[in-house]
């Protein structure tokens, strides 16, 4: 039996530093232990809570691991056909221009089957927010190779690693959409350490605030882990992410206030 280190005398509302936001429902998320999806869901919910827009926000759920995102957010949400979330968000935003509309998509949804919808929505400059979770693999279907899989990275359909001569090069879709005139804010963040979580939250806040300006798409990529698909424990997956994913997908802002950030 573990020793008890509780301090019940300081459990008062004025001493509360952090608790799960009410914008997330009490349903237990179906994600694997340590998956970045849960952290990003929580950050979006916290931003919605802090901006006080719970009744003015409409989310669009994708197909992929996060297909059941609408079970976890206590907001209005709509499920899109595979890859079509930006097209659906375009329609919702044009019918309700005063609402905050965001899509939540993984790399199989946004960068593979939904490439056309993503690029055209970004090029048209729709006034929406796109949250893009990049884990370099198709997590839900069993860890197959995705367009974002790193060169040499083993997956269930590339067991000896991705051979770029045969299987092509990984797609850096965030760099691609940053070049388009319709994007206003493009950034790449991660959520595996406390400092990066705080930065990602600021980026998501900015992406939602930008919808008030009506200047174009705000695109937030979050480099995340897929422990089950990568066949690693959560702690090993975070280390692998830092050593392999981040050199290929460097973190930072690519476009701020419609201007490219020079590096």
């Amino acid at each position: 039996m573990e020793q008890n280190f509780d301090l019940p005398e300081i459990h008062t509302p004025e001493n509360l530093v952090y608790t799960k936001t009410k914008v997330l429902t009490d349903n237990v998320m179906h994600y694997c232990p340590g998956c970045g999806h849960g952290t990003v869901h929580r950050l979006i919910a916290e931003v919605i809570d802090e901006m006080g827009i719970q009744d003015q926000v409409i989310g669009v759920a994708p197909v992929g691991c996060s297909v059941l995102a609408y079970n976890y957010f206590d907001i209005d949400m709509q499920e899109a056909a595979h890859g079509r979330a930006p097209a659906l968000a375009t329609g919702i935003k044009r019918v309700f221009p005063e609402k905050f509309v965001f899509t939540y998509q993984g790399d199989g949804d946004l960068a593979a089957i939904g490439t056309a919808e993503t690029i055209h929505a970004c090029n048209r400059g729709e006034n929406i927010t796109i949250i893009f979770i990049n884990n370099g693999i198709y997590g839900m279907t069993g860890g197959q190779m995705a367009p974002t899989t790193l060169p040499g990275m083993p997956t269930s359909t590339s067991p000896y690693g991705r051979d770029v001569k045969m299987m092509g090069n990984p797609l850096k879709i965030t760099e691609l959409v940053a070049m388009l005139p319709g994007t206003y804010f493009v950034t790449r963040q991660a959520v595996h350490t406390p400092a990066l979580v705080r930065k990602t939250k600021k980026a998501i806040r900015m992406a939602f605030e930008n919808q008030k300006l009506n200047r174009g798409v705000s695109f937030v990529e979050i480099v995340s882990n897929c422990n089950s698909g990568w066949k690693l424990t959560p702690v090993q997956a975070i280390k692998w992410l830092e050593e392999n994913m981040l050199p290929f997908y460097p973190l930072g802002d690519l476009k701020v206030n419609g201007e490219m950030v020079s590096k």
């Binding site: 301090l7 530093v17 608790t19 997330l24 232990p33 849960g38 959520v191």
Partner: protein
């Protein structure tokens, strides 16, 4: 300088035992239990009283398991 005392409350039934919080804690307050919850996951427990209420564990937790309190004593 006033000393800061923190405490974490862990919702053990929601915890999936991913151990991300144990690496985020600066004072090594958190560790994995030897017991399991009703879903069969080893959950996280406090192993010392050095918590400073920095909330690092809570903000990296993917499942929103941890509630943090902080007080000056």
């Amino acid at each position: 300088m006033a000393k800061v005392k923190g405490d974490v409350v862990i919702d053990i039934e929601r915890c999936k035992g991913c151990e991300v919080c144990t690496t985020a804690c600066p004072n090594e307050v958190l560790a994995m239990s030897t017991q399991v919850n009703s879903k069969g996951y080893r959950f996280v427990v406090k192993v010392n009283a050095d918590c400073i209420g920095c909330a690092n564990c809570a903000i990296v937790c993917p499942d929103g398991v941890i509630t943090v309190y902080k007080s000056k004593v």
